[in-house]
Subunit: 359 residues, 2 copies
């Protein structure tokens, strides 16, 4: 969870409302209309609330969104539009908009189609980095739908047997509502880990596990200095022997649905703040079976997973989304632990952009 | 690939036509109508032709399909029907039919819906073991669609931190057409490996890699005797540190779409020849973008993967489905290498069922 606490004892708790406010103000000052700015800030703050720091305010605000908007590589006022559509499908042009704005627009469209036709699938071209994939899949939950979300990303992941990165971390998220249990929310990169985990190990002077990353020539390494240099990640599974070709296959699947189906760009051609493709889906549960019965059966499945006996030295068994929900509930009260450095960066943006800082 | 050749030098090549014929005759003698028998045999023989021996004739004919039909746990003449439906979705009852028959019926329905509404998704209850997941996803290829196929299965896979198997190998298959390149066909269990690979290592007296399986208490083991005994598999990724929670999450996703969405049964309650659930999907490419342009872009992606430089000591980089297609083309000519023991079993069935053997 809170990786900052291992890394950097110098952090402080910021209330989510205050964090949302300053991020929103920064976006507005960079030309994004108020409603869109609020929506985009919500995606980032939700990631922080759920303990997904890798996709929260700290990681991308400074290096991606702010410089992207300043350089106009990200369009603050995109004309998002449907290029082609059928009853249950659409191709959407993101017009270089912030991924968090384009993503919500497109996922809403998928949900609208699912309400009418049972399912809705939207592939998106010409968008930008959209933050946490799970935000969009989770938009389906309150509609009693199953949500799906994917994006392709800059190339960091090696194909099995390959020496050069041809895939991004290309995440997949699926969110499924339950009744009394908290929803199942899978939100996973198709690489073993993200680059961030290697940087953390390296800063702590630790080696990395065999299966996370490779050296410049593409051979697996456990040396975090070498991995930090190469930034070459292994697909989920690691080596072929341990199923790495499956992680590579899943990454390719994401690249096809986000990049090829949208006519956008494939992972190996993606550059920072350049175009990316997304893919969103919604399944209306009632179109398959009675929603209440489905949710009760989800409770049964999720409870059976929570209650299954753990191995020695482990307290409990989780399912995807359970820890994140627990962290979310906690951070709504305690606030979000942010490294002092991140707080300082945000305050500097506030000064630079003439905003009265709320943190 | 041909794992039999490592295991058992005593094998012979059988032409696919002859293998199809005997399997078809066996199914007919066990009460399956001629057309359905032929369809079911095609699924099994296609697996053998593609080098997916784990789901070919040898592995399930003797231990699953024949005893299932004899004991009437599998219904040879199911009344497969739609229980609920919307424009792009359906819930289908398999009426205890052979999975290969029910699966093709349901996938055809998904394709039909996709032709009309852009996408089609069908969840199936009360079916039986359906063989190779990739057969059904590949049915979409000739329709210029992307095909999706999943099934849940008997519990052999541990949840992350769990001591007891709660998931099946729960495979995912996605098939995507290209133009000149052979199609992308991902067909993967969400465990690191299947039980079959552990049995092979054990017969050869070899240890197994760290990450394949656990002992009876749920702790990872590299002893193939212990793993053979426990039959407890690790999810794709292995330990939590190496992303095993992602494989576990994917297995749960499959269980939800196949088991919960269909109101069928979840993995942890599945028994051999008992009910299982499937999930099928079809995406009509033309509903998203021009099909020919899409296929050309697929060629570009797939060629870029084939042509990316390999690491030292590897000849080439593959993509999902490429090796299988090459083996398929070869075996159409050479025939399928079948262990003598498997040939003998089939011949014994022929004698028992009063069929003139074609092998």
């Amino acid at each position: 969870m809170s990786q900052h606490s291992h890394l950097d004892k110098a952090y402080q708790y910021i209330q989510s409302k205050d964090l949302h406010n300053i991020v929103c103000q920064i976006f507005i000052k960079l030309g994004i209309p108020k409603d869109d700015a609020a929506k985009a800030a919500t995606v980032l703050v939700t990631a922080d609330l759920r303990g997904v720091e890798s996709h929260g305010v700290s990681n991308y605000m400074e290096v991606t969104y702010v410089p992207g908007l300043k350089s106009n590589l990200i369009n603050p006022t995109p004309n998002i539009k449907i290029i082609r559509e059928s009853a249950s499908t659409a191709l959407v042009d993101g017009d270089r908009g912030l991924g968090m704005v384009v993503g919500q627009w497109a996922m809403k469209l998928a949900i609208k189609k699912a309400k009418k036709y049972g399912t809705g699938f939207v592939t998106v071209s010409n968008s930008r980095h959209f933050g946490m994939a799970g935000y969009y899949s989770m938009m389906a939950l309150s509609e009693d739908m199953i949500g799906l979300s994917m994006t392709n990303a800059t190339p960091h992941v090696l194909p099995t047997f390959g020496a050069e990165p041809m895939m991004g971390t290309n995440p997949i998220s699926l969110a499924v509502p339950a009744n009394k249990e908290c929803p199942f929310v899978l939100d996973m990169a198709t690489s073993t880990v993200a680059v961030g985990k290697i940087l953390i190990a390296n800063r702590l002077g630790l080696p990395i596990p065999y299966g996370w990353a490779a050296d410049l020539s593409g051979e697996i390494t456990t040396d975090s200095n070498i991995a930090r240099e190469s930034k070459k990640l292994m697909p989920l599974g690691g080596t072929k022997e341990l199923g790495g070709h499956k992680g590579y296959g899943l990454a390719t699947m994401v690249d096809i649905l986000c990049g090829v189906l949208s006519g956008s760009v494939i992972s190996s051609n993606i550059v920072r703040n350049g175009p990316v493709g997304h893919f969103f889906g919604a399944f209306n549960i009632e179109s398959f079976r009675d929603t209440q019965e489905f949710k009760n059966d989800m409770d049964y499945l999720l409870k059976s997973l929570k209650n299954t006996p753990p191995i020695e030295n482990e307290d409990r068994v989780y399912y995807a989304g359970l820890i994140e929900e627990e962290v979310y509930q906690q951070r709504l009260i305690t606030g979000i632990p942010l490294a002092n450095k991140v707080v300082e960066t945000l305050r500097n943006f506030a000064i630079e952009l003439d905003i009265s800082s709320t943190i």
